[in-house]
Symmetry: C2
Subunit: 199 residues, 2 copies
DNA sequence: TCTCATTGCTAACACTCGTTAGCAGGCCTA
DNA sequence: TAGGCCTGCTAACGAGTGTTAGCAATGAGA
């Protein structure tokens, strides 16, 4: 007896993963269901035994990844007594780990959410805003506590996340840096820019 | 008698600008010629009195902006005798000025080039690589000269451009910061992260 | 052995896509 | 006044879109 099946069947998960790779490579709108089916060795109509619609896949990818980002941030800031700079560093590394664990899904999360139709699109943007606000608050409090330095917390949060979110554009799993090394280096360099007491 | 017309007619330029805004908002693949025509108060077929194809517009936007970026970088590094940190700062500000002068075209340049068909796509990527290499070299030489500090020049160039290129995602022309103020702040913050002699 | 759900197929529907052909009216120039 | 370009229209082309209906084969559980 196999282990109790995940909430979604193996096949459905495979469809999601393959679709994600295509969405990343060609974009959501430019990816056809027939292309996706061919990639899976199926006919287009057969996909609909497993999924409800094309957009449903995009929805699952975008909101699934949002959940992962929030989980990482939550873990990084769980110890509210820790120094804010340390919490921020952990949050950065957690963010990078999600990005590297599934860079295709991350790229879709970052660029293809525009093709969600309402109300999912608005919902998604609210989630994203909330996540960014988490970083902004961390930096703001870090500055107030004298642990960090930046002329504008919102500005700093924006450029920080920007640096991180470019990662799926160049990250290659087979590259010579491991995800952990990348996370560490990125955190190191970005924390340097925010360190208190620089010239 | 009006001044000698630009190489492209006023109308053709208007089509390009309107198309760019749509490409940015909906993506190239999801923007239809009929939508574009409606936006201009025309019928779809009428567009073809002014343009050759949908992709031709994308081509013009992508390569036109590439030219602007190179021009800015060239001007910023024209004085080879200037300190490398100063050259880098100027290059950053030039980059930001191009991004803010036409943020719609910039967004298209950054995200929609994938829909160029070969050989334009490969050509475009070569240009982009060459531009990134310019920044990389500037940073590399700055480190060698002791003016800058970073564990890895390529890494630093990547995150630097990433921070800048996120700008079209949040920049609003009617915001309270002027393009020059944004350029200055961004340069300030990013140069801080690369300053020599930090802890 | 008889269900019954699963999985996939074929064929088709109702559009939408980018693009072209052919034509009409307006305007400048000769 | 005649000719010709410029601009825009309508209508249509062939191809491709996401999705659905209906059916066949399979394999597991009663």
């Amino acid at each position: 007896m196999p282990p109790p099946p995940a909430s979604r069947s193996r096949k459905a998960q495979l469809i999601d993963r393959t679709a994600t790779a295509l969405f990343r490579a060609r974009g959501f709108a430019a990816t056809s269901m027939r292309e996706l089916a061919t990639e899976l060795g199926l006919e287009a109509g057969s996909l609909y035994s497993h999924i409800k619609s094309k957009e449903e896949i995009l929805h699952r990818v975008c909101f699934g990844l949002a959940e992962e980002f929030f989980a990482g941030f939550g873990a990084a800031t769980a110890d509210a007594a820790a120094p804010l700079a340390a919490q921020l560093r952990q949050a950065i590394e957690a963010h990078v780990r999600v990005l590297t664990r599934d860079s295709a899904a991350s790229a879709v999360f970052l660029h293809e959410w525009r093709h969600l139709s309402e109300p999912a699109r608005t919902e998604f943007l609210a989630l994203r805003d909330r996540y960014e606000a988490g970083f902004r608050e961390l930096i703001r409090r870090g500055i107030a506590a004298g642990e960090l330095h930046a002329p504008d917390a919102a500005f700093a949060a924006l450029t920080l996340l920007a640096s991180l979110n470019w990662l799926p554009a160049w990250y290659r799993p087979e590259g010579k840096l491991t995800p952990n090394e990348i996370a560490h280096r990125l955190a190191e360099q970005l924390m340097r820019g925010l360190a208190a007491g620089a010239a």
